[in-house]
């Protein structure tokens, strides 16, 4: 399965924040989206999920044009998301969060064990009382165990301590090897570099550079766009 956005335009009110962005991901690869604050990474994630309507362009998932599909229908077709903000239902317990993501008992236990130091034994707690990093881990765990084919993640390492960043990296590369496709918005360049098969650099709502991880000058090219 493949997620493919073509000429995607989306935004808030009259002003578009994305101007014709094209990105794609296949199952079994990780595509890193990088760019400075405010360039439209989160907007892209929301448009891919259908939280923001595309004012122009299209989103295809597998054989379907899903541009007008509501998020839940995209989820049923194999797409999942981890959001940068409000990644979990903070009013509900950790257990209810797991249940709402459609996980059975064994998958629920898996999620807690993915980040054992952070999540085990916390299942009756309101998710809002987890720390920011812990909420992110819960959201990533749910999305990784929910049986999706394609996952879009918006800065899942935000607020994670280095050892948990490594742990998430391990889970992501494992999932990729098991056939998951991931669009990974990431400020943590070291992680992005260690995982990604391809890079896409956004600037002011446009793709300004892209390339494969094995291109010799890829890191220099990315860096020129990220330094101020």
């Amino acid at each position: 399965m493949r997620l493919q956005a073509t000429g995607l335009e989306a935004g808030y009110g009259a002003v578009p924040a994305l101007h014709g962005v094209s990105v794609s991901v296949e199952q079994g690869e990780i595509v890193a989206i990088v760019g400075r604050n405010g360039v439209g990474k989160t907007t892209l994630i929301k448009a891919l999920m259908g939280l923001l309507p595309a004012t122009s362009g299209s989103v295809r998932l597998g054989g379907n044009d899903v541009t007008r599909w509501p998020p839940s229908r995209r989820v049923r077709a194999g797409l999942r998301a981890v959001y940068q903000e409000r990644a979990v239902f903070s009013e509900l317990t950790v257990r209810d969060n797991l249940r709402l993501n459609g996980l059975d008992a064994s998958a629920q236990a898996d999620v807690l064990e993915m980040f054992p130091d952070s999540l085990i034994g916390r299942d009756q707690q309101r998710a809002g009382t987890l720390s920011g990093g812990e909420q992110k881990m819960l959201a990533s765990g749910c999305a990784l165990r929910a049986g999706a084919s394609i996952l879009v993640m918006d800065e899942p390492t935000e607020g994670l301590q280095p050892s948990n960043v490594d742990l998430l990296g391990k889970h992501l590369s494992q999932a990729r090897d098991d056939g998951l496709g991931v669009i990974l918005v990431e400020q943590h360049l070291a992680l992005a570099t260690s995982l990604a098969t391809r890079f896409v650099v956004l600037e002011k709502g446009e793709v300004v550079a892209s390339g494969h991880a094995d291109e010799p000058d890829i890191h220099e090219r990315i860096a020129t766009h990220l330094v101020i």
């Binding site: 259908g50 939280l51 839940s72 990644a87 009013e91």
Partner: protein
């Protein structure tokens, strides 16, 4: 609804104590009956307000439609007991359709839900007039007679009403607080976008939740139909009481509706006992004013 209920009580008293042997006991039983009716009517209002943020001014008309369903079931020669589930199904469908056609478009704008449902209430009343005219229709009491309880003879049907209403309220509350469906509704209330992103078809769940709210009103309408005249305006007698309950009980927890109904019924019954129906109305309004004045938020009442 307060006035209507009190009049009925006074009338039955004047009629020569057929049912009423001990005034206080029967007043307490009236209070319980009023609690059950308030709870079942207010529950649907509480569901759509608490969970969906919709102030439904047409909720009384859902009760009215339920009462006419009971009338039509009787005209079709069927048992009144059949009318109760049929009213639930009719209102579930009607409520679901209204959510689809109207409410869905205005969730983000509470002030518009007031206008839209006010308009809807007028339309439903006009439709009822068109179909059934303004004439008072009556639904025959399926269990005439009285049952002895606590030393008094009390109308059997009122016991039935209390039992059915309490059952419907408890089952509905459990559905919304304990089941997977209830959890998905809570998730939508907490964060609709995140719920969608977890794969929950929020539009289907919203229609269903609104439909269930309407269905409880339909059951209430079918239940009260044999107690008085069925006419297009009947819903208007139920709406203020239900709103009072929602204000007093709050809806940040649905159980608040039950406690609110208990408080309102107790205050009204007490006021009627010590004074009269007019004072009961005044006391009820004061109660609402006090709660609104000192309440913590628009969704929380005295208890929830």
């Amino acid at each position: 609804m307060v006035g209507r209920r009190a009049d009925h009580r006074l009338r039955s008293k004047r009629k020569g104590s057929v049912f009423v042997v001990d005034a206080l006991t029967s007043e307490i039983l009236n209070g319980v009956g009023s609690f059950a009716t308030l709870a079942i009517v207010a529950l649907g209002l509480g569901i759509v307000f608490g969970l969906m943020g919709v102030i439904n001014l047409a909720h009384g008309e859902f009760v009215m439609v339920g009462a006419y369903v009971a009338f039509m079931v009787q005209e079709a020669g069927r048992s009144h007991w059949l009318a109760i589930p049929i009213a639930a199904i009719v209102l579930l469908l009607l409520g679901g359709m209204i959510e689809l056609a109207l409410i869905r478009r205005i969730y983000q704008r509470p002030e518009l839900t007031i206008l839209a449902t006010f308009g809807l209430s007028i339309v439903l009343r006009q439709l009822a007039e068109l179909i059934f005219t303004k004439d008072f229709r009556s639904v025959v009491n399926p269990v005439p007679g009285a049952t002895p309880a606590l030393g008094v003879l009390y109308p059997t049907y009122r016991f039935v009403l209390i039992a059915v209403a309490v059952t419907v309220v408890v089952v509905t509350l459990l559905t919304f607080t304990r089941s997977q469906f209830g959890l998905t509704v809570q998730a939508i209330v907490a964060d609709r976008e995140l719920a969608e992103s977890a794969g929950i078809r929020t539009s289907v769940v919203n229609s269903l939740a609104f439909g269930i709210g309407a269905a409880t009103a339909g059951v209430a309408g079918a239940l009260v139909a044999p107690l008085g005249a069925v006419e297009p305006q009947i819903g208007l007698t139920y709406l203020p009481g239900a709103f009072l309950v929602v204000i007093v009980g709050g809806v940040s927890r649905l159980w608040g509706v039950v406690l609110g109904a208990g408080i309102v019924a107790a205050v009204q019954t007490g006021a009627i006992h010590f004074a009269d129906a007019v004072l009961a109305q005044i006391v009820s309004l004061l109660l609402a004013v006090v709660v609104l004045q000192f309440g913590r938020s628009s969704r929380s009442g005295l208890v929830a």
